[in-house]
């Protein structure tokens, strides 16, 4: 039995170049194990088994021959990556809602919706009052009188 530290022990089968170790899935959730192992798929062949509620058994089969130091390095890197993934998951969970809010505010509010644009057009048109509906009839009558007078003046000058 090899050890990286007291929390992380592993067994090495030299014949088939395979490392076997156990991961406490109460400390390291399955999602973090997936994320961590994904980053090692180019270096090792990974196989997982066990009881996800309690403990995962991980088998790392090496793609090429390594010495003892390289082996311990690899396992140490994986252990560090597990810790990194746990921290990432915590940060992510703590900030999920706020990130959703930020993206929706930043992108949605910058692009007016088609409905908003149509409403704005209608409002603008209404404000212009093309049919003169908002104008009181007395004003309209006075305006009509004024324009009659001015056209008479023009005719007499001619």
């Amino acid at each position: 039995m090899n050890k990286i530290n007291n929390n992380f022990k592993f067994e090495f089968d030299k014949k088939i170049q395979q490392i076997e170790f156990k991961i406490n899935s109460k400390i390291y959730p399955l999602t973090t194990i997936y994320q961590a192992t994904y980053l090692f798929l180019d270096k090792v062949y990974v196989f997982l088994d066990g009881q996800p509620e309690k403990e995962i058994k991980a088998f790392f089969k090496l793609k090429e021959h390594v010495n003892k130091e390289q082996l311990e390095n690899l396992v140490g890197q994986f252990y560090n990556e597990l810790l990194n993934q746990v921290l990432r998951e915590k940060i992510s969970q703590a900030n999920d809602k706020i990130r959703e809010y930020i993206v929706s505010q930043a992108l949605y509010s910058a692009v007016p919706s088609e409905v908003d644009e149509l409403l704005k057009e209608v409002e603008d048109d209404w404000q212009k009052d093309p049919l003169g509906i908002a104008q009181p009839w007395q004003e309209k009558k006075q305006a009509a009188k004024k324009s009659k007078k001015s056209s008479k003046k023009v005719k007499s000058k001619k």
Binding site: L30, Y38, L41, Y45, F47, D49, G50, Q51, P52, I56
Partner: protein, 66 residues
């Protein structure tokens, strides 16, 4: 022939089936499912990959889980 037993609580059946589909040109795959495991029997493996196909297949299936 190579045999792999995938724990259903760890490996999603859809990921295994996707992997079988993506590897279908390299070998024959037979799938058998029970309550806890999906057993895959691999035979007629392409000569060029006979030493590594089982492990590559398992890696690929795990990659599809992420």
């Amino acid at each position: 022939m190579r045999i792999i037993k995938f724990n259903k609580k760890i490996y999603r059946p859809e990921a295994i089936k996707q992997a079988i589909n993506d590897f279908k040109n390299l070998a024959n795959f037979k799938l058998k499912e029970n309550s806890d495991y999906i057993e895959i029997k691999i035979n007629k493996i392409d000569q060029d990959y006979k030493d590594i196909l089982k492990d590559e297949f398992a890696n690929y299936a795990l990659g599809l889980m992420s």
